[in-house]
Symmetry: C2
Subunit: 340 residues, 2 copies
């Protein structure tokens, strides 16, 4: 299995570390060569038919701030044409406006019949149906566990392990930054602005925090869940959305008097697609603390099934990419074994 | 896919209902006939090459208290020899002493190269290694999601979705009856004996409650997790075990003063295999209420991953059997599709 890794920021570098730590084990488990034959950051790239050493790439990136020779005006898509690969790992940052450049990368790979594993929310929250039809037409596989919930295996639990169930609804906390802010307001009595500043200082929130606190990130994830689990073809613009900017200390203490907490909850069902602050009873799974993500599914046979885990982080997101890569290798391995 | 269902008590009847509700959808999803060609209860059986109607079997069982003509001294194993089937669903009750009769049924199926899906803890908590070797030797698949955690997909999350992770430890609440009793003691100040009586009246606990409250059930599940997830070959006798009989109201109120609750926790790691009452901080995932089961895994890349769900129940256990059946059908379907 020859891999091209696109994006060498936090997630891409995490993936390189994971490949270096787990590559040998995976090769022997599945009896299949696993080679990283190409890697791109925003301005440079490196290619090798024999396979690149992920450790060397990490060292080079740290020293030179690039991963290889400069692209020099050449586009990633042009460079890709000269590379022979099986799977693209697309780990460029999410762009919720038009999905680029990830959308272009994924489209090119699928058109060429290559499998894709991605952590990039943009393409899936904007053009899900189109991408899925393209994958099917070209007999390629598109997997995206890492795009929602970080290391939490929500997509694969819902779509694979609960395949026999009818999932009726999902309620979820999908943005750790908002959860952190709401918790700090409640636990320490901090006003919103101060809790936000603290989140920024700790690296949980960006300088422009709008993406998190206005619920855009949560809405993108809700759209992906609606598409992947409820067979919708919606964009993040279809999500009814309100964020946590308006939450006051007064509201939080009124909730506390009723033994409730305020949480930014995503609710997804065939008839509902919404992200909004909700009152959640203390002790309820959705009253989860810290920056964890949690997903509560209601199903017809199993009743409620809950999964929770770390919603972000370098190795955590890479671990979700890894789980999809493992699923591809496993499928290939089953086919080889059963057809000998 | 021709199925034989052994055991037609709560779980077996649940499975019949699930097959009747989901059979047509599964057949069309996977383009494979799904036929129930044999069914056994403890004293009778029914066979049909063309396939039995699960609804009719449920009606007959309700009216006649048996599922078909009496076995009349014929053993299940003898009767099985005359049936042509692909998958055995083994749903007889757990016998933690010697694993019988489930162990005999599963052994016979694997020896004949048939796949097995089971909810029966006994065979897996006593003879795991032996059964796995038998399955491998005969190129048969043995799946047992339903044996631990009811509808909670713990085994398949750990072994399949987190296959690329190194799971370092699992802490779990696997017995809903104990959790119910401990909660009633805490919430209502009921003494142990009274909370136990209430659990018995509500059908959560058996007349002889030892299996639950002395931690035998939890130990069997801990052994299965150790075998399935940590590659051990241990029996439930290897689990250090203490139950909840000795928990007093005083202990519970002392815990409450420190904002803690008492839970019967199973802890499984390469170096630890134990079931015992533990203090858990209020708000911690393991402080879960009601009769839910919860599993908290610590992994090397993803950090902590938690899954929770209903640990028992007719349709819930059948839903876990269904998830394993779906996994078999899906694997077969991938092989057919990719080899055309």
């Amino acid at each position: 299995m020859d891999i091209v890794l696109i994006g060498f920021g936090t997630v891409g570098q995490g993936m390189a570390e994971v490949l270096s730590r787990k590559g040998a084990t995976l090769q022997s488990s599945f009896r299949e060569k696993l080679r990283l034959v190409g890697v791109f950051d925003s301005s440079s790239y490196e290619v090798s038919k024999k396979g690149l050493d992920p450790r060397e790439l990490l060292t080079r990136k740290e020293k030179l701030h690039r991963v290889g020779p400069k692209l020099e005006g050449k586009s990633v898509l042009d460079a890709l044409k000269d590379i022979d690969y099986d799977v693209m790992i697309e780990a460029t940052p999410t762009n919720i406006e038009d999905g680029q450049p990830g959308l272009g990368h994924i489209t090119a790979a699928l058109k060429a019949g290559k499998d894709v594993v991605t952590s990039n929310k943009g393409p899936l929250a904007l053009k899900y149906g189109e991408l899925m039809r393209l994958a099917e037409k070209n007999d390629a596989r598109l997997r995206f566990e890492a795009s929602v919930g970080g290391a939490t295996p929500i997509i694969n639990v819902a779509r694979e392990l609960l395949m026999g169930e009818k999932i009726q609804s999902i309620r979820a906390i999908v943005n750790g930054t908002c959860n952190f802010i709401l918790n700090r307001m409640m636990d320490e009595g901090l006003p919103f602005d101060q809790a936000l500043r603290e989140a920024q200082e700790m690296g949980y929130a960006e300088k422009d925090p709008s993406y998190d606190i206005d619920g855009i990130d949560s809405a993108a994830k809700a759209a992906i869940l609606a598409n992947a689990i409820f067979g919708r073809d919606c964009s993040y613009n279809d999500v009814r959305r309100s964020g946590i900017r308006g939450i006051t200390l007064e509201a939080i203490s009124m909730a506390a008097e009723e033994k409730k907490v305020i949480r930014l909850v995503a609710e997804i069902s065939p008839s509902r697609l919404e992200v909004s602050p909700r009152l959640v009873p203390v002790g309820h799974p959705l009253a989860i603390g810290g920056t964890l993500n949690i997903f509560q599914m209601m199903t017809d046979l199993a009743g409620e099934v809950t999964v929770a885990g770390r919603g972000a982080g370098r190795l955590e997101t890479a671990s979700a990419l890894l789980s999809d890569l493992v699923a591809l290798m496993k499928e290939d391995c089953v086919v080889r074994r059963r057809t000998v």
